[in-house]
Symmetry: C2
Subunit: 196 residues, 2 copies
Amino acid sequence: MAMVRLTEQIHFIKEIDKVKYIKRKTKLFHSDRHENDAEHSWHLALMAMVLAEHASTSIDLLKVIKMVLIHDIVEIDTGDIFLFDLDKQHSNTEEELKAAKRIFGKLPQKQALEFIYIWQEFEAGVSNEAKFAKALDRFQPVLQNLSNQGGTWTEYDVAYETILEKLAPILTGSETLWEYTEREIETSIREGTLKQ
Amino acid sequence: MAMVRLTEQIHFIKEIDKVKYIKRKTKLFHSDRHENDAEHSWHLALMAMVLAEHASTSIDLLKVIKMVLIHDIVEIDTGDIFLFDLDKQHSNTEEELKAAKRIFGKLPQKQALEFIYIWQEFEAGVSNEAKFAKALDRFQPVLQNLSNQGGTWTEYDVAYETILEKLAPILTGSETLWEYTEREIETSIREGTLKQ
């Protein structure tokens, strides 16, 4: 029985290798090299470990880490959707749910459901854990862009108001991370790296 | 106070971006593309989530995940050491400890110590969590090599006995993963992909 379950689980483990090929728009720190979804998810999990104390509410750290580790797996089927692509809906789409069911569906049935629920809880953004996980997901590209002379904000000429609006989930998850974000963006504007 | 701590933590978060540049000897599934340490660590964390039920003893999953997420960070300073490089010592070296102190030392003091302790517990390989984390760290390249006609085993002409000896930590952490490993390696030998 253990071997039957293990064989199914290994199918899943092989399938998610594809996450390493999904390129994001954002680039590594002080770099021209695009980040992939596996690297991004690893970095978010480390940030969850390091920054948990800054969450606005008490959180279950294990759940936050699980969320950020799996949140982009659906992109194996849907591809990366750029945060500032205003023509596309970014979450809770039928296409993403179909992808979640196909990919997590490789796991033994009860385990597949557990993974789908964690992913849906993240997408819904309502629980304390989802709020903090989403804050981290927005905060990491802020740090990357600030290190790359505005990064994707500059490259795609995103208006200051749009940046702040899209970064609002940071405030929802952590007042401290938001305070840092606002301060650093204002500094970049003052220094001329970012335009207002 | 929160902002002072956050600023230190962000120094650490930026520093570990370098993990994404550290290439391993092993390659992605059915691929010629080398894996990097961030991708590897992400994959191990997912494997911990999925395969926890196969650990030989009860484990604290959060601790296992923390271990695999951080276990290769020291390689920013030491570089990747190939498992089958028999001239090099593979763990508990002075060089690695120095790297751990430098890199984790960017965090606020108490947090830095916590991270160093987790890394040392992994390296020691004595606790239940470390045994299972080490089993996963050995098991992932088995799956990769099996998908790549022997992968690094064939490429570096590693003797069958050496492979089995180096994979022993899999048995220490999980009898089920070991049973699968032995069976798959024997199949590869029978089919001629691997030589005995």
